[in-house]
Symmetry: C2
Subunit: 446 residues, 2 copies
């Protein structure tokens, strides 16, 4: 009975299922791949929330709908969604559409598996390790460990949890109450996930000590040293420094060599949040911005940002070779990670993570890399830098635009100066009036 | 310069990009949708890891590859992957392929956006809320809150974090050191993510008190009461009970009414891990298994399991109407959640979560629901129960098979008794010898 019936069915008709998917794919090609990437179309058909609710008819009912209605629903979803692949989409740090990456995502979705064991994901267990190895090599490590996480915020949390576990393995069993008060350090320009992570992990946001940044937004190593001393004087135990390679707003790169020196002197775990800037490692011309990253203990790097691989693709990379990831997170669930399987069970990587089921995030990056080659990806990164430079030069030429600073990365920060304020820079309330109506815009150039 | 060039390009040729995607989609249809669901094909072309590595040629190089090579790589990835949509795939608690859900996943991937603000995901912000509202209504709540998380383990962690924050809001800032020792309670049959979560959140695995289960794997409320008293006597502060609706191995449903009574008496947060069993709420016939769930404070429910929506689709549902989720997790990052936008910023739901970028997980479920209707989904759940019943009856008739217990849900647990042990039940080393070579198999019938 169970065996005689195919699981794929659309009212019992496999051919109809295939036809539906063909139709939906046709809509995707027309509405996203063609129109969504055309500069003559809108980035978004904007609607106010109440109107959009009515247009979409979101309610879920008892009765099912016809295939024609379902296709119309797909069209409506696309019509009113933001086309993040549009050439004029400049919101947030992801955009563009790489066709190979999208191909990888479609294959991933169709295969629908979880990354936890070799028996259920043989290709992807091996592939993830190969991709992580490549990313580690770009960091400068010939060995190590790592895992893909559901986004950079969780990658950063992993780093915090690993750092405290390495110092206090007891914490896993006994909790933070068994530990002295801990302190971690990051600059005031860091991503907000550091504080969110500290709260979630039970450390509390007070454990995050803010280090001053210079006028370009880079952490000041001398202030880091001072904050460490201050924390110690207050009775806290410093355990981690989170440096940032590519801050969210200014695109600043913290001076990793100097920070690594401080960490070495004080015996602290160095985490580099390179979620945004990590992809610069692909460029021979620009990778000097991350000099010293090889001295880090952990690195978070999101190819879904600068490399346009698609959400989510966030690697946490580790220099560790002592199986720290598994020791810290493992729980040896016997129903899933049996030890008497007929293959090498170290391939069952699921116990390295705090998730159980885990999406496959490696194929899209792997396939794009195979197609473009490291050289192709390098050209893209270099082109993004060139476009940012071009934009900065254009802004300088145009009346009413004021560059906040010369870009070092692909973030170009500028003010639009309204006519009423032009020529009045230096007047007492200039900055206040500028900020009141016009926020600095951080725009990704590519 | 930046504006004149489409972002979608394959060596500068948009038509080639479209052709690539058409070709890859054709491969997906042939190899996954047709062959992958055919009982006359293999579930998996099994290869040992070393051989598979060679077959896949995983290495990432400097040079890119031709389109023909890329297509061949897609074929190879599919060839050696497990077909989780195959009618004979019985590993883990997800399987099958719903064509509407897959259509939703393909649209999601092509639109590639993040769930954090209305301006970047207008359709999906509204849709997520509508889907969560529907799931909450099935739980029995006319109001509340919720969010989709990257898997049930993280949904469970959210519940733990919310429960401790509600009791000790100070914890967010000051950390666990400012709190008394906490205790949470769950049965010995609970999912391993409860312990993983306790470790990750800094509570420590010791804070998880294990409650006894009866012979069917259901938590014993009297023992829960006793464990609470014991914890209090030891100086710990009970704050949360995590009941399970659909345990991983036996498929047991904890008695929620009785557990809710205990929680009420002691003022404890009741979380229900219904990752596996939550979908039973769709069935009028079987939803009594979750009677009392409306008294929970939070529920984790993974439609990617029983409803075959595809990884990942995990809802955390809350009865709370006091904005607890945002107060607990929010950090008011000013670059993303500006307060002076031109629409109602309560629609910017991104600050409810500990992630920053967050995948869209609602469309696939919404589209499938629109197509099938609640009635269609109910029929599927009922069919799964019927198939489990059928399998249990078949096992009773066949020599060499021993049912562990009558199934109450769709988990059918049985032993295969090797010929050498048949007829020897009750002999001194019977159980030991049975367990040594043959593990109990938990199989999803549908």
């Amino acid at each position: 009975m169970a065996d005689s019936k195919p699981l794929l069915s659309l009212d019992g008709d496999p051919a109809a299922a295939e036809a539906l998917l063909q139709d939906v794919f046709g809509i995707v090609v027309d509405e996203v791949i063609r129109k969504g990437t055309s500069a003559s179309e809108k980035v978004c058909e904007w609607k106010e929330p109440e109107e959009l609710k009515q247009l979409l008819d979101l309610e879920l009912r008892s009765e099912g709908e016809s295939q024609e209605q379902i296709l119309e629903r797909c069209r409506a979803v696309i019509r009113y969604s933001v086309k993040t692949c549009h050439p004029r989409f400049f919101n947030q740090l992801f955009s563009g559409l790489d066709p190979h990456a999208l191909a990888g995502r479609i294959v991933t979705e169709s295969l629908n598996t979880s990354q936890y064991t070799y028996e259920i994901a043989p290709v992807f267990v091996l592939m993830e390790e190969e991709v992580l190895k490549k990313l580690r090599a770009l960091v400068g490590w010939s060995s190590g460990d790592g895992v893909f996480c559901p986004g950079g915020s969780i990658s950063n949390m992993y780093a915090m949890n690993l750092a405290r576990y390495q110092r206090y393995p007891d914490c896993k069993q006994r909790g933070l109450r068994a530990l002295p008060p801990l302190a971690l350090f990051t600059s005031k320009e860091c991503h907000y996930s550091i504080k969110k992570g500290a709260a979630f992990l039970g450390l509390g946001t007070d454990s995050v000590r803010i280090v001053q940044a210079d006028e370009r937004g880079k952490m000041i190593p001398e202030d880091l040293e001072q904050q460490i001393r201050l924390a110690e004087a207050e009775g806290a135990v410093p355990f981690l420094v989170s440096a940032t390679s590519g801050t969210t707003v200014l695109g600043a790169f913290d001076p990793l060599e100097a920070i690594a020196d401080v960490c070495q002197r004080h015996g602290l775990w160095l985490h580099v949040d390179a979620a945004w800037g990590g992809s610069v490692l692909l460029s021979q011309t620009h990778r000097h911005l991350l000099d010293g990253i090889q001295r880090a203990d952990s690195v978070a790097w999101n190819p879904h940002k600068l490399l346009s691989v698609g959400l989510q693709c966030s690697a946490l990379l580790l220099r560790d070779t002592s199986n720290l990831l598994k020791r810290c997170h493992g729980s040896q669930a016997s129903y899933l990670f049996q030890q008497d399987k007929f293959y090498d069970v170290t391939l069952d990587t699921g116990d390295k993570v705090v998730q159980c089921g885990r999406r496959v995030d490696c194929l899209k990056l792997w396939l794009m890399w195979k197609a473009q080659g490291g050289q192709g990806l390098e050209r893209r990164v270099d082109q993004a830098f060139a476009l940012a430079r071009y934009l900065a030069e254009e802004l300088k030429k145009r009346e009413g635009f004021e560059l906040v600073m010369e870009p070092e990365f692909v973030n170009v920060c500028f003010w639009f100066v309204p006519p009423s304020l032009r020529g009045k820079k230096g007047s007492p309330d200039y900055n206040e009036r500028l900020a009141k109506r016009w926020r600095p815009s951080s725009r990704r150039a590519w």
